[in-house]
C-alpha cells in the first residue's frame, strides 16, 4: 500500500493563538512585532490586517499610518515551536506519526488512517473542523509524497486531495517556490522566466544541476516520489502499542476498565506470538480538552499475562480524571524483553525467586506500596553494621553467598543508634548499668569489646567499641562506645541493636 501524507499549514498561527488567548483581540487587525536593527518590524499579521495591505516585514510605524486601530503584540521567542509541538501532540488523534514543519505547519503520515473516518474527504473535513473549532485558520492537503502535500497546502486553492495518478500533472501549475527551494534559486528561476514547475520539470537533469545545484533535483524527486523523504515524528510511535479511539466519550470507571482490558488483551496477544514480555507499560487517556492522563506500570520480569497486568492497573483506574470525556486510549509498551519460557513443575513445589507466582506478587506489592519498598538484600563489603547489607535487584538469579556470620550480630538493628546513659568502669570494661527509655538495665553478662573502625575513605568520626550485653531480665542488647576513653572529654554510649 502506498504512503499518504497530510500537510497542514497554519497560516496565521501566532495571531490565531493570541486571539484564542485574549478574546478582546478578536475582530481587530492584529500584528506581532519584533525589534530589528532598532526598528519595530512586523513578523506576523492576521487576515484583517493583511486585507488592508499589511504584511510581515513592514515597519510597525508605517503600518500604523495605514491602519490607525492596529493592535500589536510583542513576539515571544520560541513560541512557534512550542505551539507546533503542542498541536502535533494533539494531532495524535488523527495519526500516530506527526512531524513539525518549522515554517509554520504540521506534516502527518496518515497511511492507513483515513478509512477510519470514512474516506479521505471526510478525514480532511474532520481535521479542518477540529482546527477551526480551536480557532486556527488552516489549509490542508493530502498527497502521496511530503513534497506534494506541502506544495498544495501552501499554494493550492482550498483543501486538496491529490490522487496517485494525478500527482505528476497536478504540480505542474504550481509556482517554483512550492518545491521548497532556497530563495536564491527561486529568484534565479524567476529571472530566467521559469515561473511554474512545468517550465523546468522536463529540462535535462544535468542542465538543472549545473545551473541551480543538486538541491533542485532532490526536491523534484522527493515531490514526485522517486526517492523517499524521512519524516521525524514528534513522539515516535512505540514498537508495541495499541490504540482504541472511542466514538462516544468515556467518562466512567467501567468504560475505562473495558478499554484497558481490550487494549491489554490485544497487546499481550501480539507479544505472546513473538515470545516477548512487558517490563514497563504506559496507559494514556486523551481527553477532549487536550489533556492526557498517564498511568505507568512496571514489572520485575517480562510478562505478557493480561489478567496480571490488569490487576496492576486496577488500583489506578479510580485516579484517572476523565474530565469532559476521554476520546482515545493508547497502551504503549515502553520496555519489552524476550521471555524465556522455563520448564514448569508438573506439581507445585516451593517457590524460588524466579517463579511466576512470586514475581506477580512482588509486582502487585510494588505497584501499591512503591517499588522501593520491596527488597531483598545482599552483603556489602563494608565494616559498619548498618552498611553491611544493601538492597539487591529482585531480578538477580544468583543469590549472594558470602554473608559474614562469624561474629555475634543482633536480630533487630536500629537505623540510627540511640544514645544511652551508661555506667562503666574505665578503661574498657563492659558497662555495668545503662538507661534506655527511662528504664534502668543492670548488666549481668557481657561480651566484647569488638572494635569497628570508621571507614576513613568515606567519612570521618570515631571508631566504635561494641559490647554484647545481657541484663538481669535476660534481654540482650548491642551497645557501643564511640571513641577512646579519655579523662578530659565525654564519651557517648549508644544502643544499636536487640539480640534474639
Amino acid at each position: 500500500m502506498g504512503k499518504r501524507f497530510v500537510a497542514i499549514w497554519l497560516r496565521y498561527l501566532q495571531t490565531d493563538w493570541l486571539v484564542r488567548r485574549h478574546h478582546h483581540l478578536k475582530g481587530v487587525p492584529l500584528v506581532v512585532k519584533a525589534q530589528d536593527h532598532g526598528r519595530m518590524v512586523i513578523i506576523a499579521a492576521n487576515a484583517l490586517a493583511r486585507e488592508q495591505g499589511i504584511d510581515s516585514g513592514m515597519v510597525l510605524a508605517d503600518a500604523r499610518a495605514v491602519v490607525p486601530n492596529l493592535a500589536s503584540v510583542d513576539d515571544e521567542p520560541g513560541l512557534i515551536e512550542r505551539l507546533l509541538t503542542n498541536l502535533a501532540n494533539w494531532c495524535i488523534y488523527f495519526t500516530p506519526t506527526v512531524a513539525i514543519d518549522p515554517t509554520g505547519g504540521l506534516m502527518m503520515d496518515v497511511s492507513g488512517c483515513a478509512h477510519l473516518w470514512g474516506g479521505e474527504e471526510a478525514y480532511l473535513k474532520e481535521i479542518r473542523a477540529r482546527f477551526t473549532q480551536l480557532g486556527y485558520d488552516v489549509q490542508v492537503a493530502m498527497a502521496d509524497t511530503i513534497g506534494t502535500a506541502w506544495a498544495f497546502s501552501r499554494y493550492g486553492k482550498g483543501d486538496t486531495i491529490i490522487d496517485k495518478a494525478a500527482q505528476a500533472t497536478a504540480i505542474q501549475y504550481l509556482p517554483a517556490a512550492s518545491l521548497r527551494l532556497e530563495n536564491e534559486v527561486v529568484e534565479k528561476l524567476q529571472k530566467l522566466g521559469l515561473y511554474q514547475v512545468k517550465d523546468f520539470i522536463h529540462m535535462p537533469r544535468t542542465a538543472l544541476r549545473r545551473r541551480f545545484g543538486t538541491n533542485i533535483l532532490q526536491r523534484l524527486d522527493q515531490t514526485l516520489g522517486n526517492i523517499d523523504e524521512p519524516i521525524v515524528a514528534v513522539n515516535p510511535p512505540a514498537e508495541y502499542a495499541e490504540r482504541l479511539p472511542c466514538i462516544d466519550l468515556i467518562s466512567t470507571a467501567t468504560g475505562i476498565r473495558i478499554a484497558l482490558e481490550k487494549l491489554l488483551n490485544r497487546l499481550c496477544n501480539q507479544l505472546q506470538k513473538q515470545q516477548k514480555g512487558l517490563r514497563e507499560v504506559i496507559f494514556k487517556c486523551y481527553r477532549t480538552d487536550y489533556q492526557v492522563q498517564e498511568k505507568r506500570v512496571e514489572t520485575i520480569r517480562p510478562g505478557n499475562n493480561p489478567s496480571h497486568l490488569f490487576k496492576l492497573f486496577e488500583e489506578m483506574i479510580s485516579s484517572i480524571a476523565p474530565g469532559p470525556g476521554i476520546e482515545l486510549f493508547i497502551l504503549e509498551a515502553v520496555k519489552v524483553e524476550s521471555v524465556v519460557v522455563a520448564n514448569t513443575n508438573m506439581w507445585a513445589g516451593s517457590c524460588t525467586l524466579q517463579s511466576q507466582a512470586l514475581s506477580e506478587l512482588i509486582d502487585r506489592l510494588a505497584t501499591r506500596v512503591g517499588s522501593s519498598s520491596v527488597k531483598i538484600y545482599k552483603p556489602s563489603e563494608e565494616y559498619l553494621p548498618e552498611r553491611s547489607f544493601k538492597p539487591a535487584a529482585l531480578q538477580d538469579d544468583e543469590p549472594a553467598e558470602n554473608w559474614r556470620c562469624n561474629r555475634p550480630r543482633p536480630m533487630l538493628l536500629l537505623h540510627q543508634p540511640e544514645p544511652v546513659d551508661v555506667m562503666a568502669p574505665v578503661p574498657d570494661y563492659p558497662p555495668m548499668l545503662f538507661q534506655y527509655r527511662k528504664k534502668r538495665h543492670k548488666i549481668v553478662k557481657a561480651d566484647g569489646p569488638e572494635r569497628i573502625e570508621q571507614q576513613w575513605w568515606l567519612q570521618r568520626g570515631e571508631h566504635r567499641d561494641y559490647y554484647y550485653v545481657e541484663d538481669e531480665e535476660g534481654c540482650r542488647y548491642w551497645l557501643f562506645r564511640s571513641g577512646h576513653y579519655a579523662l578530659d572529654k565525654k564519651h557517648q554510649w549508644f544502643l544499636h541493636g536487640f539480640f534474639v
Binding site: S350, W403, M411, L412, L413, K445, G474, R476, V500
Partner: protein, 244 residues
Amino acid sequence: MENSKAHIIAQLQREILPLQGFKSPGSKAACVDLGVINDVFPDNRFPTGVIHEFISTDREGVSSSAGFIAGILGMLMKDGGVVLWISSAPLLFPPTLSYFGIHPSKVIVVNVPKEKDLLWATEEALKCEGLAAVLVEMRELDFTASRRLQLIVERSGVTGFILRQNPRKLGTTAAVTRWKITSLSSIVVEAGMPGVGFPCWKVELQKVRNGKPGCWELQWQGKKFEVIEQHEEIVVNDQKRKVG
C-alpha cells in the same frame, strides 16, 4: 471392644482435623521439629499452613519472638523456598538470619508504611502458593481480619506468623496458636566465666486449637532448639516473686 472404640474415636479425630484447618502435609512438606513441644499439637506435629500469633510487649520481645520464628523458618526453608517479611518499619538485620539456617537473600522485606495497606499486603502474600512462610509485624488484629487470614492460608497452605508488638486490645482471634516469647538469661558453660551464652527463651504457648497449652524454656543451640533441663535463674525469679 474398648480398643475398637478408642480406634474409632482416633479415626474420627483425624477426620475432623482437616475440617478445622489442620491439613496433613504432603511428602514434600518440610518438617518442623520442636522437640517436646511437638507433643502438644494435634497429630503430634507443628501445624503448618495456619496462622500463628505472637504477642510481645516491647522491642526486646519482638526481637526474641523474631528469633524463635527464625528458628522455625530455618526448618521450613530447608528445601528452598522464599519468605516474605512484611512490616511497617522493618528493623531486621538480614545477616543474622544465617545464624538460624536461613539464607538472607531468600527473605523479601516489604516495607508497608500504611496500616491499611498492611492487611492488604498480608492477604496478597498469604494467597501466593509456594511461599515457605509469611511473617508480618502488625500491631492490631481483630477477629474478622484474623478469620480472613486463616481462611486464606487454609486454601493456599502458606504458614503465616503474625508478630504483634504491644497490641492495644488482646481479643479473640481465629489464629490457631498464640505464643508469647520472652528472653531468659543465657547459660554460661562454666559458672563464673565471662561472656554470653546461647540465646534462651521462655516459650509460652498460651492457646492452641485442639492441643494443650504449655510453657517451656528453650535454647537455640547451633542448629536446633533444646529444652533447658534446669535453670538456676528461674528459681531466683520465683523467690523474688514471693518476696514482692
